[in-house]
Structures are given as C-alpha cells and as structure tokens.
Amino acid sequence: MATTTVKPETLVGKRIRRREDPRLITGTATYVDDIKMPGMHHACIVRSPQAAARIKGLNIKPALDRPGVVAVFTGEDVKDVPSVPCVAQLPGLRQPHHHVLAQDRVYFVGHPVAVVVATDRYIAADAADAVEVDYEELPAVADPEKALAAGAPAIHPQWPDNTAFTFHQEGGDVEKAFREADVIVKQRITSQRLVPNAMETRGVVADWRAAERSLTLYSSSQAPHLLRSLLASIFGIPENRLRVVAPEVGGGFGSKIDIYAEDMLMTFVSQRINKPVKWVESRRENFLCTIHGRGHVDYYELAAKRDGTMLGLKLKIIQDLGAYLQLLTPAIPTLSVLMMPGLYKFKNISADVIGAFTNCVPTDAYRGAGRPEATHGIERMVDILAAELKMDPAELRLKNFPAPDEFPFATATGLAYDSGNYALPLKTALDEVGYADLRREQKQGREQGKLLGIGMSAYGEICAFGPTPATPTGGWESATVKIEPSGKVTIMTGASPHGQGEETTFAQIAADELGVDIDDVVVLHGDTSLVQYGIGTFGSRGTAIGGTALYYALQELKSKIKKFGATLLESDEVSLVGGSVVHEASGKSVSFSKIAAEAYRPMKLPPNTQPGLVATHFWEPPNFTFPFGAHVVVTEVDRDTGQIAIRRYVAVDDCGKLINPLIVSGQVHGGVAQGLGQALWEQAVYDDNGQLLTGEFTDYAIPRAHMMPWIESSHTETPSPVNPLGVKGVGEAGTIGCSPAVVNSVVDALSHLGVRHLDMPLTPEKIWKLIQAGGRA
C-alpha cells in the first residue's frame, strides 16, 4: 500500500484564478451566436414601432417574394400557442394572454408582429423590412401613476383600471406605532426603470427533429431546466425529448431567467420549417424587448421616537409592470416588501403594492430584484429621519440594529435573519474612510462654498433563493459528482453559472473535500441532457445552494470511499485523510486513485455497497441567507455644473465565508458598477407616447472604465448557519448597497441648502438647478 500524500493546503478561501478563463481569453468559448448547424436558417422579427395600436393590415407578400426567404409567420399562425408564461402567482392576479406574436393589437414598442425566416441573416433583415404593417395608433400610457389615474387609456381593454393586482402585507401594529411616534417623516422615492444590458444579447437556436420528435434548444439562459419544463408543457414535447443547452452565457443579471416569446417562437418556427433556426437579438431589440428592472414609485412613511428609535414603516409601492407579465414580474415588488425593514429592529410595518400595466416592455428580476428598491427606500428614509432629528446618520443606524446575540432575528415581514453583526461593517467602513475627519472637512469646506458629501448605506439582502415554498421556480439545487475510474472528478451542477465562476469555486470545494488536485476536477453545467434537473443561477443562490448540494454529494462519496478503503485495508478502524483512507494503527493507507479504480472493478465489494463512485444530492435549504454590509461614499459636487465626482468608495460586505476572495471582489465591483449606474446615469426613459428615448448605448449611459471610482472593498465574515459552507451569496450585494450610499452622499453634500431628497439618476442638470434655486426644490 502506498503512503498517503496529503495536500499541503486547502483551496477554499484562496484567491485562485478561474478555470473558465482560458477559453474566454482566447476567443474560443461558444456563445449562442457561435453555434452553426447544417441547414440552419435565420430569423428576423418585425416589431411594432408603436406602443399602442390596432393592426389594421399586414402584408407579408413582399417579404415572401424575396429570394432566400422560406417563411413568414404572423399572429394568425401562432394564435393557438399558449401564453408566454408567468409562474409568479398572487391572489386575483390578472394575467393577459401574452401571445408570441401580436394578434390584432400591439402593446409596447418592440412588440413582435411577424417573423421572417431566411437562409441568411442579411436576407432575413431585408425581408423583415419589406413586411408592410398598417397600424391605427391608439392612446398609450407609459407612466405607472398616469396609468392608474382616472380616465387613463386602458392598456388591456378588459381591465380599464390598468391594475394587474394589489397586494397587502402587515406585521405588528403599525397604527399604534404611528400613534406613539414623536416624529413621522414621509417621502416619495422612485427607483427608475433600468435596462439590464448583459453584453451578450439574447439568442436562440432551435433544432426540431421531426423523425425523433425531439427538440434541442440553445438559449442564452440562466435557468435551462426551467426553460425546458416550460417549453415542454407549452408545446407538448415530452421533457425527455427536449434538450435545452445554455452554452457560454454572456451575462444575465436576472434578464435571462425568463422564458421569452423568442424561445417559443423559434421552437414554433423550427417545427414548421423542419430545420434549425437561429435568432440573435440586436442591442436595439435588447433595449426594447428584454425585461427591464426596477420601475418603482414608492411612498414611504417612517415613525420614530425623538431619541431615534424607529417604530414603524408604511410603504405604498406602485410597480410599473409593463404591458405583460413575464416569468416573475408580479413577484418582484413583493420581495421589496419582505426587505422593507432593512437591517432595523422595528416590528411594525404595513405595505401595499399596486401592479400597474403600462405600454412598456415588462419589468422583472434585474440584479437585486426588489431588494435594491427596498434598500434604497429604507436607507433614504433613515437619512431623512436623521436630518429631521438632527442626529448623525451613522449613530441613528447603529442605534436601531439588532445585536449579534439576537439572531436568528424575526423581522416584521416574517423573515428570520440568519446571522449578523450589522454594526461591524458600518463601523469598519466609517473608520476606513476617516468619518470624523471628513465631517470636519465638510464643515470647513462649506464656508468656502465647497460641496462635499459623506453618505452611507447599511444594507441587508435576502439571498440564496430559497426555500421552495417561497420561490416560484423551486428553491433547491442539485449536484452530481462522478469520480471516474482514473480518479478524475466530474461535477455536474444544476445551477447554471454565466460569469460567476462556479467552475472554479466548486472545483475548490471538491478538491478540498476529496484531497485531489484542482486540475483533476471538471465542472459541467447548462445542458439538460447532461446534467440532472436543476433550478439555475439567480438571486445569489449558486454557491449557497448549489455549492451546498455539491458539498453533500461529496460527503456521500467520501463515506463510500471510506467503505472501499476499509475493505481494502481489511479494517473498520480507518479514517479519511483527504481522499485517501488510512489505517492509523498500522500506518497503512490506500490512495484516492487506487480506490477510484477499485470502485469500478472491485475484487471485493464492501457490504451493502454498489460498485462505482457517483453521488447526486438535491439540497433544499431550510431558510434564505441574509448577507449584509455597509458602503460609505464620499462625493464632491461641482457647484458650477452639478457634476458629481466620487472621491472615495468604501465597501465592507459580509457574505459569510469566502470560497474565493478574488471572485468575490469581482462580484462586488461589478455590483457596485450597476448600482452606480442607477444612482448616476442609467434610466429607461419612455415619452408620453411610449417611445423609448434611451434605447441604444449612445443614449443610455452604462458605466465605462473612466466613469468608475476605485472601490475599496473588504469583508467581514459572519458564517451563515443555514448551510454547512457558511456562505451567504454575493452576486447582488454591491448593487444593493451602492445606490442609497451614493444618493445619501450627494444629498448630504447639499443638505445645508435645504435638500432632503433626490431621485435617481442624479443627473448634473437636476443638481445644478437645485443649487441655482438655493436648494429649495
């Protein structure tokens, strides 16, 4: 028997460069648009230029007559195809039938009206231009508050009040809290519509094989199994004859959880032409037709005692839904309700959500999905309260946090916060930034007319979605681990990462647990024919749930390895050291690779043991996880122009245990960039006719390298008790913590002028006008 070699160090917790990168830095990764198939056709979609109109006439003949065009389909062809699905359900929810091509009406700019199929994408584009559509324009409404107003045009004629649902939740006794309050502050706070803008737009290749009655669908998806189940039920294709592949996915940020009209339309087209067909979204289409995020108008009232003790919060959310309900659309504002108390102890809340239809593309989950809106709201309200009470905003926050020994902490909204030390990141960030010195500098600077702001947010988030009863898609995740006869390890995860780095973090976990070289581990994902059923990557769940499923699958294998080792060593008195089995009394051991080989050609099987080393685990989490942290932002406002410069950005995040700090910091930076985008630049602006005015990168300002500050990022590590890895999730943290800290900072810079609140984005003209008006606006 060989001597055991124990790996000198563990990999979990180390900054390890990613294993997915070689294909990405050499341009050899395969995204949907890189897929080519024999006989593949190309689709181009004719879309409505009107936000609300009746289709009076549709002439496809000029398109059909063009050489190379094989088919043109219109609403009539797909009228029996079921609705684009929404799986989120609320009592009394009004769900319009979302046809994959418009029937007699269009409801938003970009609404698909016809699809042209041709042998080449250039021919398809020319033919799509040749389709003649005669629209009778109808009055449109693009603003949710205007949509709810009396006399507004009905978006769906059957529901003239434009209300898809109302939702009410309360906890404690909010009326009593307000009666007992010394101070009540109120504010209307908006969270503007944003466009997720993954750099890879959506794309679909559908390949129907009539003889096999089977469909293979390549789609740039965050949740391929979900897409498969929904497509199977919509088209009546048996699930075992439907393969969905999410190949390399170029970012999603929530926008690729959905099943879209185009996934269904390409399935339909491939079935009709009996050929593979590809559709790749243009950026313009991505702006117009892929879900948007946010879209809140919120009315807040916060009640407190004079000493700063917060007592209760009332919230009314008007959610801009758009014209249809996508996969999770109505559920998103309910997440805002769950998160509305933020990190604070008060136990009295009431919330009302009104879901308003508008003639816009639907909203749905975008990085943070409901939690950024809630965090922005409560963190703004805390600052407004601090100003009212003339208290330091940091002091006010610290006063209202639950103490570390109060966890699990039951919130007013019915959650149980898992673990936390909320004061620690805030104090750390304030120390890091030099808070007291900055306050002095601010005071002195004001005398010279300088506008310096110090803003903070203390955020919490609900992550690791989530227990199944609370997650419309299902909340568990799965992992299969196969130890091959050669000792190589293959992991198949049901989570479908697309940039988050699980090919690396999962390999780190497995390498540590099995004591193998990380180069001997491969992580596969995204192909429903290869990977056992899974849920997907969203809601900061990949590692916290998918990683935990992996952890338990590895434990099952380890106990089997031990059995094989015991049999080989002919003793029950053995222990596992990494992946090797050691008989300590004799010093004899049997290596991992030997056991791997033995498992597939056992001379003697351990009792009650099957050959082979494969384990699958489906892990259902008992609770969400609740990451938290604090961001502190120092801004300087240019009095002459209203331009905002960020002098310091300090982020202290607690996402539980860190598996790979290099990857975690990347998640934080990217999250902050999207939060900063919302705070300062990004907005989907529709005019009164429902035309999207910021519908290209030349109008919609995505943060570029030169617009980003240096982010000083560090972590506190409070393990989550919810899973054995102690991880909480980090994908959305940066976004959630960022926008309130930035806005609080700019409001702080202008507070001596009487400014109490600013809505995002903080465009320079808005700031300049306020300064011109002496702050009173």
């Binding site: 994408r121 020319d126 243009s282 313009r284 122009t641 630049w681 617009m707 300049w768």
Partner: protein, 281 residues
C-alpha cells in the same frame, strides 16, 4: 445591424473618385464612423458608396511657411499623435484626442468628421478658434472655404454636390500662445454636450488676442466673437464668457436643456480660457 445593399466603388485616384462623385447620387465613405452606424440602423441607405480609403495622397500632415495642411483621410489618432500637430498646432491635437474612443480615432478621419457636421462633433470648435480653412475639390473646381463659412446647420455644410473635402488648412500656432479644448462629454455617446476651444495670446501680462470656438451648444459650431472682443479689450473672463451663446438657439435634449447647455458653454469657456491663459507665455 445590417445595412441595405449598395453599389461600392473604391477609386484608386482622386480624379477617378471625383468623376464618380460627379456622376450622380453618391455617398462618400471615409472612416465610416458616422455613416456606417447610420447604415446599420437603416437610417441611411445610399445606393452607391464611394470609398476614399484607397485614394492615395489624401492622408498627410505637412507644414510649410507657417501653414499646416492635413489631408482629408488623416485619422484622428494620426492627428492626435503627430509630432508636427502636437508641436505646431497643439489645440487640434488636444481636440483630436478627445474624440470618441481609440477605436473610433483609429478609423475616423478629419475630412469625414467635418463633412458630416454633427453639431456635437469636437473638431469644429478648434477649426473656428484656429481660423482654419477647408479645401473643397470636385471634378472641375477647387476652392477653399473659411471654417466660419463651412458649418451651416446640423449635418449641413458648404460642400456642394460633387465636392469632397480634400484638406484642412490651419495656421501654425505661435509657441507663445496658450490653447485649450475643454469638453463635457455625454456619458453615453461621448459626443460634446458642449466643447470650447480657446486660443489666447498675452502681451505684457494682458490678453492681446483671443479666439474661442464653441461646439455642441447650438445648431452648428460658432465663434464667440463678442467674448473674444471683450477679452481683448481687457474685460474679465467672467464678463467675457457671459456673452457666449447670446443670439444662439441652444440645443436641448434629455441630458441638457437649452438653459443648462448655454450655462455649460459659459462654464467650459471660462475653464478653457483659464487653462489657455496659464499656458500662454
């Protein structure tokens, strides 16, 4: 994403190019940084494109007797990097360095940019402040137009049918003069919300010469003549810039209303003049 079909010619001589252009509806393609995106979005659908990319003798930067000549197909990056421009006409090099991004500057040409005459383009402010000239040639004409007579309206210039821009003619800046191109870039498009080019000469510590070009603010770039006169007459910078934009109708968009834009032009003019002043010796 996909342009409509068109006929394509890539003439090998200037004469051939001018003959082609004289032959009817032709769209001239230089760097393509404005034309190709418009064609991809099908906002432009020319039937016949004449590509100047293979015409020899249009890409040059020369100086003789204090006059700098820049061939029409010289790229922004070539202008930005050229020691001759940096040394003898640094205002233009500074303006060129602020255009778009490096990929755009590698393809985009000075002739193409000014012929396109986007009201938010960068060069016009400098060309005006430099009192430059634009040489226009056709199959049977060759004339030179002052920059101040060249930019007429948004996307409208003094170019007549059959003409192309062949070169830009600029006086070399004097070593003692100060210069600055001050730009507020739109956060999405990178175009100038406003851009102000300033040239300042000092005599005995006082401003003796001022040239100020403003782009982005109005329908076309303009010279701030009143501000120049006031500066030369001893007024303060604040007094001078307060006249900028008077009589001009300011552009308005989502990012900047007309009032704000005019204000920004003045702020950036003040900044441009201040920097130019410190650079002047």
């Amino acid at each position: 994403m996909i342009p409509q079909e068109f006929e394509y010619s890539a003439p090998g001589t200037l004469q051939e190019a001018l003959q082609l252009i004289a032959g009817g509806e032709r769209k001239v393609l230089a760097g393509g940084m404005s034309l190709i995106p418009m064609m991809k979005l099908r906002l432009a659908a020319p039937e016949h494109v004449v590509d100047l990319g293979r015409v020899p003798g249009l890409n040059y930067i020369t100086e003789s007797g204090g006059t700098i000549r820049i061939g029409a197909t010289t790229t922004h990056h070539e202008i930005e990097m050229a020691p001759l421009v940096r040394g003898r006409c640094p205002l233009l090099a500074e303006a060129a360095s602020r255009i778009g991004d490096i990929q755009v500057r590698n393809r985009g040409t000075i002739g193409g940019s000014i012929a396109h005459a986007d009201p938010a383009a960068d060069y016009p402010a400098s060309l005006l402040a430099l009192e430059g000239q634009v040489r226009l040639v056709s199959a049977n004409s060759d004339r030179t137009v002052a920059a101040s007579d060249f930019f007429l309206d948004p996307f409208t210039t003094a170019i007549e049918p059959g003409e192309i821009v062949s070169e830009i003619v600029l006086p070399a800046e004097e070593g003692s003069e100060g210069y600055r191109y001050e730009k507020l870039a739109h956060p999405a498009s990178g175009f100038a919300v406003v851009g102000v080019a300033a040239r300042i000469k000092k005599t005995g510590g006082k401003i003796s010469f001022a040239r100020i070009g403003v782009t982005g603010m109005a329908a076309h770039a303009f010279r701030a003549l009143n501000a120049e006169k006031l500066l030369e007459g001893g007024a303060t910078i604040d007094e001078a810039v307060a006249t900028i934009g008077e009589g001009e109708e300011a552009n308005s968009d989502l990012y900047a209303s007309a009032d704000y834009r005019q204000h920004l032009a003045r702020v950036h003019a003040r900044r441009a003049i201040s920097v130019a002043l410190t650079r002047a010796t």
